[in-house]
């Protein structure tokens, strides 16, 4: 059975949603980790860095969290090949920790955007997306002020060569165009994996759309894909 943990930083606010989906909807053995915890990661399969405003988003989003005690062990865990997911603020922490390339900067509109958007699944060969179909369009929410993905050209070229872009913002019929880019992200990037394929970051919130009660349950298969790895 999948053994998962959700990390809580001061200012995390999607931690209970992630816990609920992993524990109650997916049926994974799930626990919380506190940002000051030591030696609690060894036997885990998955670490989730949830959304929120860790440490008040001071300095830069995720910049302080990256130096928290628990993150030193999350970095080691990722380097050993452990699966790590960062959603929203979690994605920002993963880029600050340089576990993922690039950076998330202020939305082009300068507005905090909270709404359902369409995503095209660009890579279904990852451990996080195997339950989706290639090019499938899913509808889940975003809620962020700093989700504008930025990356240097040479790194970007390498990311494309390795199919590291996993989700892109698109229209309802699946076209990736400027009109469906909510925040100014490079090439409509919404989610990426590292080169090795064990660390994923995404701005949209699959945990907010993972059961029939919600507007859509399109985020469920994201978690189901991860569970499937340890089936």
């Amino acid at each position: 059975m999948l053994k998962a943990a959700v990390v809580r930083f001061p200012g995390s606010n999607c931690d209970r949603d992630c816990f609920h989906v992993l524990q109650d909807v997916l049926g994974a053995d799930t626990r919380f980790l506190w940002h000051k915890d030591h030696n609690k990661i060894k036997d885990l399969d998955l670490v989730v860095l949830p959304g929120g405003f860790s440490y008040g988003d001071y300095l830069r989003c995720g910049a302080i969290a990256r130096f928290s005690p628990v993150m030193q062990e999350v970095i080691e865990f990722a380097e050993r090949g452990g699966m790590v997911v960062g959603i929203c603020n979690g994605f920002q922490i993963l880029t600050e920790a340089q576990l993922l390339p690039g950076m998330l900067v202020r939305n082009r509109s300068l507005k905090f955007i909270c709404k359902y958007i369409n995503l095209r699944v660009e890579n279904t060969k990852t451990q996080f997306t195997s339950k989706y179909n290639d090019g499938e369009v899913i509808n889940i929410p975003i809620a962020h002020g700093e989700g504008n993905y930025t990356v240097e050209d040479d790194v970007w070229a390498e990311m494309q060569a390795n199919s590291q872009v996993v989700f892109r913002y698109c229209s309802a019929d699946g076209s990736v165009d400027a009109a469906s880019n909510p925040n100014g992200s490079r090439d409509n990037v919404a989610g990426i994996v590292n080169k090795r394929g064990n660390v994923l970051g995404m701005m949209p919130h699959p945990e907010r759309a993972a059961e029939p009660l919600m507007k859509t349950a399109h985020g469920y298969r994201f978690f189901e894909s991860i569970k499937n790895v340890f089936a």
Partner: protein
């Protein structure tokens, strides 16, 4: 001593905040302003010495000790400016030391 670290966005990174400020200036009649980039300044108060300096043992002359201390401080500030204060992927930084009047 006082040290200032100036952190600026790289030229290649879009600054939507600066653009909004520039547009506001232009709208209010200051149309001779053509671009605004927003930067940060960290004002650091530094006392004591970095751990990397080691112990004071040995027979350093005061001026040799001070020079070593300054070198160690500069190295450490440079290090943490790049690790924490600035994110080198999108930002650059510049360090300025302020003269003490004593």
């Amino acid at each position: 001593m006082k040290v200032k670290v100036y952190v600026s966005l790289r030229e290649s990174v879009l600054d939507p905040q600066g653009q909004a400020i520039c547009e506001a200036l232009n709208r209010t009649g200051y149309d001779f302003v053509t671009d605004v980039r927003v930067s940060k300044v960290f004002e650091l108060e530094i006392n004591g010495e970095p751990k990397t300096l080691g112990t004071k043992s040995g027979i350093f002359k005061a001026e040799i000790y001070d020079a070593k201390k300054m070198k160690a401080i500069r190295e450490q500030v440079e290090k943490f400016a790049g690790e924490l204060l600035a994110n080198p992927i999108i930002e650059t930084f510049r360090i300025e030391e302020e003269e003490e009047d004593d």
